[in-house]
Symmetry: D2
Subunit: 378 residues, 4 copies
């Protein structure tokens, strides 16, 4: 294993581009690794820039299907929602990136990994715990906690100057006064001007959801099917064909239709793993509808006391995922328990989307069970 090989979790943005160049400068052979988990990106430009900055290779890895099947679906089935509101769009994305990055590192016999997360957030923890669990031999390089790096790059202006000097095409438009993280599950907005919870999120900030006030004046019904707690189909009513092709397509349809009707925005203050309070604005149209529909079906299908027995497990798993412990023995154990509790969560749920709300109108389950249930309450 070459002592100076490193794989960098690369986003294509200013920060990780500077880190790439800085690692090259420090003598590392850098493999830039970019996971495609559904974010909007000009991958051609990203590839060009990475190589320009000195990367030995750039890996653009389509993890969308893995992301949905192995992380988003269990998140829905386990009913994960942090502090009653946040659907873990970023938290669920980090472990799939770790998985892809480690796979790429092992294939290339690389000895280090680097990431561009700062020392005040959750992501540093998630990246480092994830990689440590999957490949303990990979040594972490964390520029934003490195004294030399932080002395050199004291602010955004230093990064811009350095990037320009390296030939990186810094966008002419000024940076947004907040930071974002986007993937198939959500876009988050935080930091900068949003740090003050008394400042409302700017109206034009959102990308996946229409503003509820501008959403269609007519409600839209959709029907979502689940098997063993996992989403399997979606149908846009009244006359849409039922779609159950691929998980990614299903998710994309849900994002589009729920986003059009303004569903899935939250603006909260959350408690970060490392102890800070943090204001986060999120839009997660598809996940919001899936969470609501699953909760409805689960309460319908499962025994009351089984639901109660799962409460503590759901709380624990939510914390494990938020805090970056996806690959830990405790998370594996609790996830197994929760998923095995989903065997009877089968059926369809109708959701009405209207100007920011997702309202359950009813759920239907295989006829035998309905008859059984109704005979009990008739």
């Amino acid at each position: 294993m070459p002592a100076n090989s490193v794989i960098l979790a690369y986003s294509g943005g200013l920060d990780t581009s500077c880190i790439l160049a800085w690692l090259v400068e420090k003598g590392f052979q850098v493999t830039a690794y970019l996971a495609d988990i559904g974010q909007e990106e000009d991958y051609v430009a990203v590839r060009k820039n990475a190589l320009l900055l000195g990367a030995k290779e750039i890996v653009i890895d389509d993890l969308k299907s893995e992301f949905v099947c192995e992380f988003a679906w269990p998140g829905v089935a386990c009913g994960l929602r942090y502090e009653g509101r946040y659907l873990l769009g970023t938290s669920l994305a980090r472990p799939v990136i770790c998985k892809g990055l480690v796979r790429a590192a092992l294939e290339r016999n690389i000895g280090h990994f680097a990431h561009g997360a700062t020392g005040k957030g959750n992501d540093q923890v998630r990246f480092e715990l994830g990689c440590a669990a999957l490949a303990p031999h990979l040594k972490a390089i964390v520029p934003w906690r490195d004294a030399e790096f932080t002395r050199r790059f004291k602010g955004r202006q230093d990064l811009i100057a350095y990037a320009k000097a390296k030939g990186f095409p810094v966008p002419a438009t000024p940076a947004a006064p907040y930071s974002t993280d986007a993937n198939l599950l959500h876009i988050s907005y935080e930091s900068g001007m949003l740090e003050d919870p008394a400042v409302s999120a700017p109206k034009g900030i959102f990308n996946m959801t229409t503003d509820p006030e501008d959403a269609p004046d007519v409600a839209q019904d959709i029907e979502i099917g689940f098997e063993k707690g996992l989403p399997t189909s979606v149908k846009v009513l009244p006359d849409g064909a039922e779609v159950s092709k691929s998980p990614v397509e299903l998710f994309t349809i849900l994002n589009a239709v729920a986003g059009k009707h303004g569903v899935g925005r939250i603006d909260i203050v959350e408690n970060r793993f490392i102890g800070l309070k943090s204001r986060g604005v999120y839009e997660s149209p598809g996940m919001t509808v899936l969470f609501l529909a699953h909760l409805d079906l689960e309460t319908f299908c499962l025994d009351r006391e089984v639901l109660k027995a799962m409460r503590g497990l759901k709380d624990s798993m939510t914390d494990f995922v938020y805090n970056g412990f996806w690959f830990s023995p405790e998370c594996n154990y609790v996830r197994d328990c929760l998923l095995r509790g989903q065997n009877d969560v089968n059926g369809k749920v109708k959701v009405r989307l209207f100007k920011g709300s997702g309202i359950l109108s009813f759920c239907s389950i295989p006829s035998l069970r309905i008859k059984f249930l109704l005979s009990h309450s008739s």
Copy 2:
């Protein structure tokens, strides 16, 4: 104590009117007890009917303030929400009725109490546990679990015939094909045609909330103040004066403004205490806004691990209240613990109401604390 004295939890409706007459027929001296907890009612007619049916006395007891201060406010501060959705509008009302009814029974030296709840629901349990806790000597009479009564009254037609024979003015209009329970906190709709979860709730069913599709096209901001987790003020923005007169007034204002914007409807299947699944449609505009605002402020004001320590207590108290154990030692204990955890939940929360959604826009807390928090995340 006269052996044949009974106090009847009287609603003025067909069922408890027949029970009243039947108890008189069985030789009981009946005191009809009607708690005013904010429901719409023609109290003059109710009084007249009760006496006509043979009641020795009718007590109409204004419990609105007690209901809000001692039951609704702790419900908000303790963050009670059953199975993730139901805000316990009926569950919180039953203990205040028990309290008033027992008080009236003790003042009159009455030996029995009777209620009109059926043998399949939660309310029988709540009435009987509540009265047993407050006055163990009061003997319960439960007509709907009495073999003689149920042999005689096999269905609604038997009740109507009996009521007419007793001179009770049975309404000419046919009964709604579902049953309702109304108070300051909410109106519930269940049973009858609603028993089949595949049947949507009729559009015209609701009384406290505008249909979201018909709600105003312009959003409305309000600001709610809390002290130690309890609501203390409300202000209709942009230029409404802050109102902090009485808890009942505060609640009434919230119901009006949130109801106008269609906020607070849910349509769910829930797990009853006695083991049945039950479909319930609820509208609880004020409680919905208070729940959301309190959750937001609590997450903002409290330490993460304290919030976690309260999770299990909140789950337990929700079950205690739903299941009718408000006056139990365990509920007293858990309520004390949760309320003592609210000492730091002080501040104001702005909520935007729009076509069925209540969206938090920000919360503000005493300036010293804000400064402290921001200095941590800046």
Copy 3:
């Protein structure tokens, strides 16, 4: 199905013998069902008496192996201990009796079941919930809650007179001033003179355990092996051969050796399901040693956070079993979760038995794992 057929959970004692005769008198065809779960019993005399009292048939069912494998072993592996002390010797026995009794009832097409448990204890609940779960069509007959029966049999003298009249050989010696329940797992002593917690249990009361003050002056070491949390072998040290023949034999050896050294007595006040406080004196030599050994090995083998995740599940399952919900969906769910958490609980534990104490001296697990663990703490 004959309308008058009944299967009676028969112990051979005075109470159920009178119930047997009374049921025959009431016109029932009675099948007496006696589960052999390891209690000391003169089965020849029991058989003779049952037929004498008019039983159509007596079934003596050897459930010892089923009892140990399907109930005691999971109890050990799931770490069940009620209120920190009681090892559920009776609670685990009731469901296996229900299982055997229901099996016998179904084979004989019997329509009712009867039991001799009183209206103040846990066992009525356990019998009735167990049978209701396994065979909801079986109708329960509960003499001790039947007005006619309790009017007729007001006390022990009435039972004795009735039994004598029916030809049942009532023992000449007066009854013990307390009641007992015995099986392979334990003997319990309660009621009567023991009801007052200020009265010490009489010295001569015990049957499975030597009084610690009279136990051998030399300690005895034994070694117990576990696989996936379930006991699989026992070895009496220093030179005993390892025994891993059958679960029943293993249990019997443990009872003998731990009992000889006075291990496993407790004298407690516990909280019964139905709300009473109850004083119980128990001796459970084998179960005590197994509980301690399993706890030791489990803490050694499992990850700390997995242990924590199982805590709430263990508490819940303990309550389910104590309260008679063994066959419920929630108990099935939690048991599955706990047993799947035992996959890595493999190894041997050495226990030193001495005058009432069971002290762990060490546990050994497969050498690979030891090396792994030690390398972490060296």
Copy 4:
């Protein structure tokens, strides 16, 4: 505040003596701080040695009463026992030491604190979290995690040589092949030869407890009184006078009598906070008896469901204390909740001590309540 002032948690042993000398060598003005929490110590010699090694001052602080009243008693009342076995004798001592040390530091306007705990154990965490909570401005100096210190002192021989060179009287006898921690609550033995769980603890290792095999052949009864869950009196039966003078005296008596009878030894593997498995041998005679007696009385005095509601809180508080979070908001909150649940835990418990066992024989509580309880089960 002098930049070079440091307060050192000093034990008088080899390690902290070398640290003291090393800190002096590094230019610090060292205040040696030694908390007297009931350990056996030649305080005259310790004082002499500290000054000899260059300490500016040595503070010997009698915290015994504070230790028992503010830490041990709440530990008993809250029922704290880690992983089902360890009574937290060291964990409860660390915060009282932090409290005393910080008090001394503030009085002297000292800017740093240092401790001799290693980088593999729990104590480093407990010291640093405790001091950070009480005096965030105190900067930690941790020699055993300092690269320069650990390069210089690679093993015990280096420490001995250094200490001798400094004039410290290194004991002629070789060090015990394990490390100990002693205070009023317990003595722990771990590390060294004890690291291998397959090696039994040497017979002569113990100081507070007689070997059960050598303990008196006659059992000893004692009676312990509690008020609101806190120990208030002890009486050595049959004719000892009841002692309720001071908490420290009470604890000392319990240690003596329980220790004489060999009560309170455990030999376990536990899960340390930092993730290691660790073998610990403990003797805690008084705490063991108090834990058992309190559990007994609590189950007797409290409502079943209140006990259940406290379960999760007890588990949480146990973890908080073990992990060093005594002064955290969450520990304060949970402790308050648990202590308020102890209001009705009043009465006396009789315990029989015999060759290593503490067996409860009965508990008595104020006569009114006993009558109430018995009337329920008669």
